[in-house]
Structures are given as structure tokens and as C-alpha cells.
């Protein structure tokens, strides 16, 4: 599969946008400007980017507690995202949902989700609707290694397979469910092996190689669109930051973190694109400057927006 130069630049830009957004969140969270909890996506950018680059606005995704990258890759509005993180009225959930509830149904983003393993059944529902209506939409379910041990995930994969639903299960195996390494939470070496239990294709890809992710997902999405049912793609990756901001990470050593930082997905693509002449230092600077301006505007928007009024607290809870 050959990716056009434009597509490669677009994917590179998305990865940088995610990285820079998360770096800003890290900064403002530490400064006490962002309430609640945030789980950063730094280091895993290639998974969301490579996956969403295959999809159209009409396709669906279900995200996780570590969802900022998925939302950005699917086209989420940085201003409304940042405002939501700041708890402001102009945010995606009117400032009342925070990081783990951001959704944009018009873009097919069916929501971040604080419930581990909560996305599978939702993705199935969206896929069932597409199948029933005869559209060619697909639903992508992002989930982590910890979620792969949840009963809901098995129920979702079984049903998707039994009903041949157009779903792509994209596993982001970052090695840890909070502090629990995968070797202590599952006896299989590869989560992709689990596809065998449902008679669906399962593949392992280098989750830090955006092109590999793109290719694997493209094949699975084609399959789903053709009506040939679901697939499982395991993307091996790593989160550079803690499980959440403030995690002391006493369960892993610095050498391990460093070894993964050396596999930085953005640096890898940047070098490759520079080498192939698709990207130049000037073009890179241009991309980064534009993103910096975009983020400045998003932060200013968030800071200047009002907080929701206390009397609005019970609004938007029930239809």
C-alpha cells in the first residue's frame, strides 16, 4: 500500500498536534489550571493517528480514559477540548464532563470513557446500526491491555464476530494496566492471539510505526466495509508519562522508559520523511509553528471562557 506524500504529512502533523496538545495539558495540569484527572497519550500517538487516518468522518470510534489522542486524530476541536479540560462552559461537555467524557457525535467520536472495557459494546451498537441501515460505516474500538481482560471486551468481540459486525478492535498495548504489567494480567504473550477465540483475524503491529498501524487498520477496515466482519489489531506501544499525571511510576524503571523513548513514533516518521525528502526542516518548522499558534488560541479560548454556573449542575444529565 502506498501512502501519498500528503497523507504522510497529514499523519505527521496529527502526531505532532497530539504531542503538543498533551504537553500543554501536562503544563496546565501541573499549574493547577486543569481540575480532575488527566491520562496523557504521549508516546502512543502513532496508534490513534494511523487508525483514524483510515477513517472518514462518518465512521465511528469509541475511546478510552486516555482519549485525547483519539479525539484529535478523529478531528476533534482543540478549543472545545481544551475548554472542557479547563472545566469551562464552552467545552465539549459544557465543562462538566472533563477529560474522560469528551464526545463529538458529528465526527463519529462516541466518547472517551472512564470505564475500562466500556467501549466495545458501544462500538458494537454503532456497527450494528450501520449494518442494519446498510451504510458502509465502520466502528473502531480503542482499548488498552488492561481492558482486554475485561468481560465486556470478550462479550463485544464474540458478538461482533457472531453477527459479522463492521468493527475494528484496536488494542493499544502499552505494557501496563495502571501499575500491573501485562505479564501479570494475562498468560498469552500477544493479545492478538485472542482473536482465535472468536474466529476473527488478529494481528500484532509495531504501535510506534504509524505506517504499519495505518496499513493493518486499512486492511481491517476494508474487510469490515465489505461485510466480512471484525478484526483485532494489537498495537505494541508505550506511554511515556505515568498512568495519570501525578503517578510516581514506582512500578517501572527509568531504563525501560528511556528504551521506549528511543522508539519515539514522531521522531521515527520525521527522520523517514526528511530522508525521503517529503519533509524539510523548513516545512517541519512551519507545521510546528502553526500547531503552536493553534494551541495558543485553544488555551486562550479556554482561559477566557466562563465557568458553568452552579445552578446548571443538574442540567444535561437526563434528556
Amino acid at each position: 500500500m502506498s501512502l501519498t506524500e500528503d497523507k504522510l504529512i497529514q499523519m505527521y502533523t496529527t502526531m505532532v498536534r497530539i504531542r503538543e496538545f498533551e504537553t500543554k495539558v501536562e503544563e496546565f495540569f501541573a499549574a493547577g489550571k486543569i481540575p480532575g484527572f488527566v491520562h496523557l497519550y504521549i508516546g502512543e500517538e502513532a496508534v490513534a493517528t494511523g487508525t483514524c487516518a483510515v477513517l472518514t468522518d462518518k465512521d465511528y470510534i469509541t475511546s478510552t480514559h486516555r482519549g485525547h489522542g483519539h479525539l484529535i486524530a478523529k478531528g476533534g476541536d482543540l478549543k472545545r477540548m481544551m475548554a472542557e479540560l479547563f472545566g469551562k462552559k464552552t467545552g465539549y461537555c459544557k465543562g462538566k464532563g472533563g477529560s474522560m467524557h469528551i464526545a463529538d457525535v458529528d465526527l463519529g467520536i462516541l466518547g472517551a470513557n472512564g470505564i475500562v472495557g466500556g467501549g466495545g459494546p458501544i462500538a458494537n451498537g454503532a456497527a450494528l446500526a450501520a449494518q442494519y441501515r446498510g451504510t458502509d460505516q465502520v466502528a473502531v474500538c480503542f482499548f488498552g491491555d488492561g481492558a482486554s481482560n475485561q468481560g465486556t471486551t470478550q462479550e463485544a468481540m464474540n458478538l461482533a464476530s457472531a453477527w459479522k459486525l463492521p468493527v475494528v478492535f484496536v488494542n493499544e498495548n502499552n505494557g501496563y494496566g495502571i501499575s500491573c504489567p501485562t505479564c501479570k494480567s494475562m498468560a498469552v504473550a500477544d493479545i492478538a492471539d485472542r482473536a482465535a477465540a472468536y474466529d476473527m483475524p488478529g494481528v500484532v503491529v509495531d504501535g510506534n510505526d504509524v505506517v504499519a498501524v495505518y496499513e493493518a487498520v486499512a486492511e481491517a477496515v476494508d474487510r469490515a466495509r465489505r461485510g466480512d466482519g471484525p478484526s483485532l489489531i494489537e498495537c505494541k506501544t508505550y506511554r511515556w508519562r505515568g498512568h495519570f499525571e501525578g503517578d510516581a511510576c514506582t512500578y517501572r524503571d527509568e531504563a525501560e522508559v528511556q528504551s521506549w523513548m528511543a522508539k519515539d513514533p514522531i521522531k521515527r516518521l520525521r527522520e523517514k520523511l526528511l530522508e525521503q525528502g517529503i519533509l524539510t526542516e523548513d516545512k517541519d518548522r512551519e507545521i510546528r509553528d502553526a500547531i503552536a499558534r493553534e494551541l495558543e488560541a485553544a488555551v486562550a479560548f479556554a482561559e477566557e471562557s466562563p465557568l458553568p454556573a452552579p445552578e446548571e449542575v443538574l442540567e444535561d444529565v437526563y434528556a
Binding site: 468481560g151 457472531a162 494475562m186 482465535a196 477465540a197
Partner: protein, 368 residues
Amino acid sequence: MPRVPIEITSPVEYLSILKEDGTLDKALEPEIPEDLLLRLYRTMVLGRLLDERMLQLQRQGRIGTFAPIKGQEAAQLGAVAALDPGDWVVPCFRETAAQLWRGTPMENILLYFGGYEEGGRIPDDQKTLPVAIPVASQLLHAVGLGWAARYRKTGEVAMTFFGDGATSEGDFHEALNCAAVFQTPTVFVCQNNQWAISVPLSRQTRSKTLAQKAVAYEMPGIRVDGNDVLAVYAAAREAVERARAGEGPTFLECVTYRLAMHTTADDPTKYRSEEEVALWAQKDPIPRFQKYLLEKGILTQEKVEENAAWAGEAIGKAVDRYEAMRGELGDPLEMFEHHFETLPPTLQEQREELKRTLEAERMESHDA
């Protein structure tokens, strides 16, 4: 990055020893002592006859809803026969024959399905848990029991039963994963009887086998002819030995068929054809095993008849004991017990109200 095929290490095999026409694969025939073979036969027949009797009792209103085992005797008996009395059995709700093997008194089975909670009580010297109704919930209990056995180094094995429908439950996944991670001595016995109430296996899963679900957990999975008691026993014995040796859990899929209804509250003619049932009736586990024993000279026609008479009599006596016990059991007020240490006020009120109603009814019947 090129695609690298992953080598899947957990094997999935199929085992059949005694074919439906009674032909034996001599090379695979397990060595089973004669008394064990006879006990297996006797319990299969007892289970079948008790099942038939229970269906009559239910239709007469003498017991409540229950789940018939007809056709699945070999799947459950072959499995439990591989255990020691000190091992744990964690049933679902279609294991009457396994319960009989383990020594659950017949009247307890009748009491349970008659609606008397006393029937669910585990006799002090036994390690067979009561019936579990929520589908797949009991698998986790078997993992816990296995884990405890491993932790305490007791050498016990925990065997649990469930149906094909349970494999779609999240609890199934969590149980098998935990058992594999912690290498608990647990044997998962799936009685794949083709139907989860009215949902056929083809709508339950796309997998060719249920045994292959073990692959997801790096656990050995084996599929056996569940109507072949020799194959079930051989596979179960291997799984039990593996568990006892500290080599972890096994998933055993017994391919069988429920010849009767899901429960007595179900009408299977609404969703499956008579031809299908007739086809499976030919694969009945009892006649082929009986033929095997007759040919081996372990059983004679005379003994077959003797055994049937013995079973009928034992069942008759158990029904009598059950009906005698019913008179003394079943105070409706007991429904408020065993849930709370101290009853919450709303339940206290309800209990008082029921007590008054019952007393008033008693007075009325006295007056009348």
C-alpha cells in the same frame, strides 16, 4: 515492518473413543477399573431415570421448574469420575447426574427444585457447591477455590460446569484469564449442548469450536465427544492430573445435546426441528456405553435389568422422603432470613405483615 505469523502454542485437539454405534478405538481406550466402569453405568442410568421422574413430578406440580439433563449424562459423569472425593465441583444448574455421583442426596436435589432452600445446603462432608443459576457466575468461584487450594497447597482440584451460552459471558473470559495467569488447578468443563435456551450455537459464536477459546488464555483446550463417556473421562483425567501437578487449568469442551427442554418452562418445538432431535437421540450416550460393557463382559442383560429396578426403587424412596420433608419445611417467613444480620425496617414491616396474613389465614381455615 513485515507481518510475522504468531505461533500459537496452546494446542486444541478433538477426542472420540467410543463411536455412536458402539465401535471402540482400541488404541485410545482408557484403562478404567471394572468397578468404576460399573459405577459410571449405574449413575448414568440413575441420572436418566431420576430426570424422567422429575419431569413427571414437575408436570404434576410436585416440584418446580428444573433443567433436564437427558442426553448429557456422559459429559458430566465422565468429568466428575476423574476427580477425588476431596476435590471441588462447582455446578451450574444442569448437573443432576454429577451431583448424584458426588453424593448429593437425591432428596436434596428434589428439595432444591421443589423450592426449598434446604436442598441447596452442602452436606458437611462434601465439596460439591449448590446449583448456580446466574450463567457463568460459578466459573469465578471455581477459580477462587482453585487459587485457595494452590495457596494452601492442599492438592485439591476445582472442576466447574457450564454450557455453550456461558462462553459468551464476560465472567467466562475473566475466569479463564485469571485461572491461566495464576495457574490455578481448575478444570473448566463446557457441556456444549448446542442450544442456549433457544439460541443455537451458530448464533452464539463464530468459532469452529469452543475449545479454541482456550487459546486466548494460553491454556490447553480439548474438544471431546461429550456423549462418549470414555473420551470425556480420558480428557478429564488428563486435565485433573495436570491441575494437580501444578500445571494449571484446562478447558474441556464436551460436544453433546440436550434431548429435552431447556427447563420445564420451555417448549423446544418452537425453535428446533424434530429431525435434529432424532438425529441426536441416535447418539445417546447410554446405549453405546451399555453395549461396550456388555461386549467386555462387565455387564450382563440380567444386570442391566437389575440395575434399572434398583434405580427405580431408590428414586421412589427418595421421592417419599422428599414429600415427607416438605410437610416440615417451607415456612414462608424464612424468606427473610440469611440476607441481613439485622433486617432493615422496610423488610421488618413486610415480615410482620406476612406473619399477620399467615396467622389470619390459619384462623380462617380453623373456623372453616
